[in-house]
């Protein structure tokens, strides 16, 4: 359990983050509405130059298929170039430690992982990647997947706006996301990280002679520039294998809090953007409160057990409380960075992590979490409509049978791509091949591996031990489906809204506190109905075993 002061500090950290998100939301709205800005003097010529050499017509409108395909094809091209960089890193510059090129399956896994915003890592960066690869493959894809996710979220919102005729232009949204949102935010965050002690250099190591006379290699690199986008972009992939537990990524209790705040910033800001772009700010309320009530429940579950001050697997400077808080946040925002060894976490904290990744919208990844929350709202509206005998409506739009089918498919993809590969991993002997057993502890690790892939989260138990052809390919495929199939279906839903009539306000009031409660309840019921048996075999079973045998 936690004490009152800790509870208050959690509320303060979350409150301040939500406040900052609220403050930057109007700026994001202006970026996507192409409103005049003070940055225009500098950025307009840059953007015009980019549009010109890429033959982009900024006024060209896109429907959902075109918007989605533009994003998908760009991501594929980015994956190809990053794949080549990883495989050929021994022939490219800035490889001071002389690392060989990656194997094709590890390179495939890594680019899929980073392009889908998952950042599941089957390697230890400090012992595998050159400085050039860290920048032009890893950080590059962290930026582009973050930008793609935000764009998809924005396009999704546009479909619901009264009188909208298209979903916008992907290329323009993508460029402006990078130049006007990610560049300034990441620059500020990177400098703050450097001040806090995060290295930023093109050297890979400094050799020192320790006090006892042995030689020690201090592994450095361009870490601060990664830290900022890994958290702001809800990416989560680390420069080092130990991720945000490594002192050079997360040097102090202050940087730890800063990271928690950064992870939540853009997903939360986009909820406000939703309300503002729609011109109905109150409609952001069920998304915001729904997300944060469920996040609160996840935190309470994780904080139930006795949290050790410091234990094996937990860094001294964070302590047990901040490690738990971080673990719940990283799964709730589907970031996937970790500041402690997951194997040292209490089974209830792991259960809480699973919940965040099952729901995917508390608040979820930036852009994508919002899409999932609207998906849950439509399911809830439909269920309530059935119960009250009214035609289901959302934002004055009648919800049709096709809409309900689409959201149900989007919802059901998630359990399918988690559970089937988990079974295959055991049936094919792939789990046993890396020494993972069939007991509740081993099962939790494999279930977690595919859940983190499907939710595009990226935290994991396996780490470099997952670097086998089976796990590289299997999780690679799961990440691709988890990312692009869900986005395509939800964009199709939004794209079909453009042509629909908006009715009056005869339907259910979705901006009321009562609706938020119903929404939260229906999300809990849906997720528990779908996933409870699988949780019961894994962390919940470990929990009860721990109660009798000790943790």
């Amino acid at each position: 359990m936690i004490d009152a002061i800790q509870a208050i500090s959690v509320v303060l950290i979350l409150g301040i983050t939500i406040l900052i998100a609220r403050l930057i939301a109007p700026y994001l709205v202006r970026v996507y509405n192409r409103s005049p800005s003070r940055l225009d003097k500098v950025l307009n010529p840059v953007e015009k130059f980019i549009y010109k050499i890429c033959s982009i017509d900024p006024e060209h409108p896109m429907g959902w298929k075109q918007y989605f395909l533009a994003g998908l094809l760009l991501n594929v091209a980015q994956m190809v170039i990053a794949f080549l960089i990883l495989v050929l890193q021994d022939k490219l510059p800035l490889n001071p430690l002389g690392f060989p090129g990656l194997s094709w399956d590890l390179a495939f896994h890594t680019v899929t992982s980073f392009a889908t915003n998952t950042n599941l890592q089957h390697y230890n960066g400090e012992a595998t990647l050159s400085i050039f690869s860290q920048m032009t493959a890893i950080q590059f894809l962290q930026w582009t997947s973050a930008a793609t996710g935000i764009c998809m979220g924005i396009a999704f919102i546009r479909g619901f706006i009264v009188g909208s005729k298209n979903l916008g232009n992907f290329h323009v949204d993508f460029v402006r996301t990078i130049t006007r949102i990610l560049l300034p935010l990441c620059l500020i965050a990177s400098v703050v990280f450097v001040v806090m002690g995060v290295p930023q250099t093109l050297n890979a190591s400094t050799t020192v002679t320790t006090l006892q006379g042995t030689t020690q290699s201090i592994l450095v690199g361009p870490v601060a520039s990664l830290d900022s986008i890994m958290q702001l972009g809800t990416n989560g992939g680390g420069f080092y294998g130990a991720n945000a537990a490594y002192p050079f990524m997360n040097p102090s209790p202050y940087s730890n809090i800063f990271m928690i705040s950064l992870m939540l910033l853009l997903p939360t800001a986009l909820i406000f953007v939703f309300g503002e772009l729609l011109g109905k700010k109150r409609e952001a309320r069920p998304l915001l409160w729904g997300a944060y009530i469920l996040f609160g429940i996840a935190l309470v579950i994780a904080f139930i057990p006795n949290i050790p001050l410091v234990a094996s697997g937990i860094e001294t400077r964070f302590g047990g409380f901040m490690s738990n808080f971080y673990t719940v946040t990283t799964t709730a925002a589907t970031t996937g960075s970790v500041n402690s060894a997951l194997s040292s976490m209490h089974p209830l904290a792991i259960t809480s992590g699973f919940l965040g990744m099952f729901i995917q919208s508390i608040p979820g990844g930036k852009g994508i979490g919002l899409m999932y929350m609207v998906m849950y709202i439509i399911i809830t509206v439909f269920i309530v409509g059935l119960m009250s005998g009214r035609t289901p409506e959302y934002l004055g739009i009648k919800i049709t049978g096709r809409d309900v089918k689409l959201v149900m498919v989007a919802f059901l993809i998630h359990p399918i791509i988690i559970l089937i590969p988990t079974v295959i991993a055991y049936a094919s002997g792939a789990a046993a091949a890396i020494g993972v057993g069939g007991n509740s502890v081993g099962y939790t690790q494999i279930l977690y591996e595919f859940t983190t892939s499907a939710a595009n989260n990226g935290s994991d138990f396996l780490g470099a031990s997952g670097n086998t052809t089976f796990f590289n390919i299997a999780t690679g495929i799961v990440m691709l489906i988890g990312r692009y199939a869900s986005i395509a279906i939800l964009l199709a839903l939004s794209g079909s809204m453009i042509v629909r009539k908006r009715g009056g306000t005869t339907g259910l009031k979705t901006d009321s506190p009562v609706f938020t409660i119903v929404l939260v309840a229906s999300i809990i019921i849906l997720v528990l109905l779908t996933f409870f048996p699988f949780l019961a075999l894994g962390p919940i079973s470990s929990f009860f075993r721990g109660l009798t045998n000790g943790f």
């Binding site: 890429c54 930023q200 400094t206 520039s225 001294t316």
Partner: protein, 150 residues
């Protein structure tokens, strides 16, 4: 919808791939490197600690201490290079160091307390940086640690 009949143009895809690689993968990390190296070189290069002009380690990365006269780091943490130990851990090592060096336990306790960190007390227990307290020992007792002054 008319969009399906349009011919797909691959120029934006190729162009944006190259431009995003240049901006995100090169321009940005190099820009941050430039700013960091000019304004915050100590942090940017890994907080390297010097003793008598020689680099002896990093403040943020644990180094191996095995001799009984030094405080020892943990060997079981998540990162494997946790530079800190809790106050209790430090106190528990004081009798060993005192035995090996003859430094009174009270003086060692004082040094530990002087270097206490973890001002965010609500989030965890106070801790000390192992390299920092060992350097403090060398500074405070140069005769005892004469072989280790670089």
């Amino acid at each position: 919808m008319t969009e399906n009949k349009e011919k797909w143009n691959f120029k934006p895809i190729i162009g944006l791939t190259v431009i995003s690689l240049l901006i995100c993968g090169l321009f940005f990390p190099l820009l941050v490197t430039g700013i960091a190296q000019v304004f915050f070189p100590y942090q940017a290069n890994g907080e390297i600690v010097q003793l008598n002009g020689k680099a002896v380690g990093s403040n943020l990365i644990a180094q191996n201490f095995t001799l009984p006269i030094f405080f020892h780091p943990r060997n079981d943490s998540a990162s494997g290079v946790d530079p800190d130990i809790t106050l209790q851990d430090a106190y528990s090592q004081i009798p060993r160091i005192s035995n090996a060096t003859g430094i009174p336990a009270d003086s060692l306790t004082y040094i530990v307390n002087q270097n206490q960190e973890g001002t965010l007390w609500i989030f965890g227990s106070p801790y000390v940086n192992v390299l920092r307290i060992n350097l403090a020992l060398i500074k405070e007792y140069p005769s005892i640690y004469s072989g280790f002054s670089g």
